[in-house]
């Protein structure tokens, strides 16, 4: 990794610490749970001030012109802080919007969220939604933070369109999620819309990798909490971290965290280098991150014992975040199958 890249990644981590500190307490997160829209508009405004939704956007379009390395570092920090603000969704939209649509998004005056999914367990843009004559009809699923969106960037059969959340023919049904947020189902019945050029193919992959980085940050912190607990919690007259069976389990979790970090950072580097294997690398990272995050968070509960099962203890917050993210932007199984499809030759052997 060259020095410039390393520097910009360090900078982005430092700036993340100002808004979403990975060592901070989780009172902010708890307070936002189970309240529409599930995130803090003030914090979102700060994130926009920091230029985060435009991190990947080219400088000539008003963005920061950073690469996936920096974006993943940021997403990792947000994951460690369990920040619920809809950065990953907004960033997807920023990658295709231009002009005032983009600047409104970047300056925080209009939150635009992507609405691309039509079926569960899919990682492609839905094909049932129609955009014709400035009207859009269709149903979009699993939109996190939908209760706070001003506009939706809707993927249709033949392109993209922007729809105002309060337009006629638009309805949003909200379902609570385990992390305290909400999934929105967007029902569009001839709603007025503005066509947008471009497509979301690349943005989807970037989002999947960013989610992987977010999961990495979350599992890394859940593991750190667990290690602290193992070092301090006494049972049978000694710290439970001195029991070999738990030590070996901790070693195994450390290995999973390390493999996830290597996988995510490697995928980001391949992406930034524009390598042919970059899409496969995203699938590899997401498969690892989903499985490893669930393993680490499940074990955090187990190693905390009874207290880990209470809502007042923190491990549950991480587990429930992982439950929400594990299958978003493609489950581990989906991404493994995609990896096999993308790289059938196995020239890696």
């Amino acid at each position: 990794m060259d020095d410039d890249r390393t520097d910009s990644i360090r900078l982005i981590r430092d700036s993340a610490a100002g808004i979403a500190p990975r060592t901070g307490d989780l009172r902010r997160i708890r307070a936002l749970r189970f309240q529409t829209p599930g995130f803090d508009r003030g914090v979102w405004a700060q994130m926009c001030e920091m230029g985060w939704p435009g991190l990947l956007v080219a400088e000539e379009n008003g963005g920061a012109g950073q690469g996936m390395g920096a974006y993943c570092a940021l997403a990792e920090e947000l994951g460690a802080a369990l920040a619920p603000e809809p950065l990953i969704g907004a960033s997807m939209c920023a990658s295709v919007l231009r002009g005032t649509d983009l600047s409104r998004l970047l300056d925080g005056s209009a939150l635009v969220l992507p609405a691309w999914q039509e079926r569960a367990n899919r990682f492609d843009v839905g094909a049932e939604t129609t955009i014709t004559n400035g009207r859009v009809t269709g149903t979009k699923l699993f939109i996190p933070g939908a209760g706070g969106a001003d506009l939706f960037l809707v993927a249709g059969r033949d392109g993209l369109a922007l729809v105002a959340a309060d337009a006629t023919g638009v309805s949003v049904r909200l379902e609570k999620t385990q992390d305290g947020g909400e999934f929105g189902t967007l029902v569009l019945d001839g709603a007025p819309c503005t066509p947008v050029a471009g497509d979301l193919t690349e943005a989807l992959d970037q989002a999947a990798l960013a989610i992987s980085a977010y999961l990495l940050g979350a599992m890394d912190r859940a593991f750190a909490l667990t290690l602290d607990y193992l070092r301090t919690r006494q049972q049978f007259g000694k710290p439970i971290g001195s029991f070999q069976a738990l030590q070996h389990r901790a070693a195994d979790l450390k290995i999973q965290v390390a493999l996830t970090r290597a996988s995510v950072e490697n995928a980001a580097a391949i992406w930034d280098d524009g390598g042919a294997g970059r899409v496969a690398a995203v699938s590899r990272a997401k498969a690892r991150a989903s499985d490893a995050a669930m393993l680490v968070c499940r074990q955090a509960i187990q190693l905390f014992g009874g207290i880990g099962y209470t809502d007042e203890a923190d491990p549950g917050l991480f587990l429930r975040k992982a439950m929400v993210l594990m299958n978003m932007y493609g489950s581990a199984a989906l991404h493994r199958a995609r990896f096999a499809r993308l790289t059938p030759d196995e020239d890696d052997i």
Binding site: Q117, N121, K176, I301, M323, M326, N327, M328, S331
Partner: protein
Amino acid sequence: MVDLDALSDDDFRRTVREWIEAEYPEDLRNPPKRLHWSENQVWYYKLAAKGWLCPGWPKQYGGMGISAGKQIIMVEEFERHGVARTNDHGIIMVGPLLIAHGTEAQKAEFLPKVLSGEHIWCQGYSEPGAGSDLASLRTEALSDGDDWIVNGSKIWTTLANDANWIFLLVRTDKSAKKQEGISFLLVPMDSPGITIRPIWTIDLHDEFCEVFFDNVRVPKKWTVGQVNQGWTMAKALLGHERIYLGSPKLSGYALGRLRDLAERMGVSDDPGFVDTYTKLRLEIADLKALHATYVDVVRRGETLGPDVSMLKVIQTELFQKITDVMLDVAGENAGLLDPMEGNRAFNPGGLFLQARPSTIYGGSNEIQRNILAKNVLGLPG
């Protein structure tokens, strides 16, 4: 009234099954969470009226007094139908304890009130900070004339907010070694100085409570058995718990929900799913076979050895594994707080979280493996 003892096992089973099917409230079958007294009292009173509340108690105390074999048949039929647990600590813990170790006065005072539903009991064993090291308990009872003065706190007290009595392990001799100096007390929950704090679990349920004791005065006549001999009695009560924690029914229920979910998600015929699902079926089938060998031991009236810990380990980890797969299958629905489509049958996240504590409570699976290593395999140290 039919003489249940005289029935053949098959006739007895049919009798039980028909009655359950006719009487058990449909909306209480396979509840996703432990029911509160407000929800399950209707069934408690039905069992009481039928005289079927306490299968294991001798007839002279108002129990059914049926054989171990017939008790198992009842459990099987209850499980088969998805009958929820009632607030049953009086039935399965306090009753047997008093029948074995209580005074005549204690039996006369308490047993009828369990049978009538007037006394709802909860269990005060675990303490904050003690965790798996149960014997390290610190709640203490100091002698003061005819009373004990109790100070301390208990945690993981199931449904304490439903109960009006609690059976407590307390330390009555601080100079004795860890497992000695512990006594068994019966305490009314409305005693001055008791406060209850519900513990919210990660699936947002208040099944468990913390119970605080601040100079709570307890008459010494409500000490069960000898003073400082409480640990031995408590251990004996835990003896048969593991065979129930090891029943394959819970995993079987979860597997059924997995199958339904896979069908709903359209993956039930995918070769990958079929393979995973078949492995889980085989795990349950073999657990069933193993469980049956322990049930046979109980049926013969013999004592279960420490190897019964295997059942607890297998069943709880299998239950968790099945719910892990449910999340894999559920796609984005894995993250929903409530059941999908408002249908309790599709509740992957809920069942997944419900499965988490099973490897922690009842003696964590780490403790069970220690027991297996030391008491079954004879490994040193």
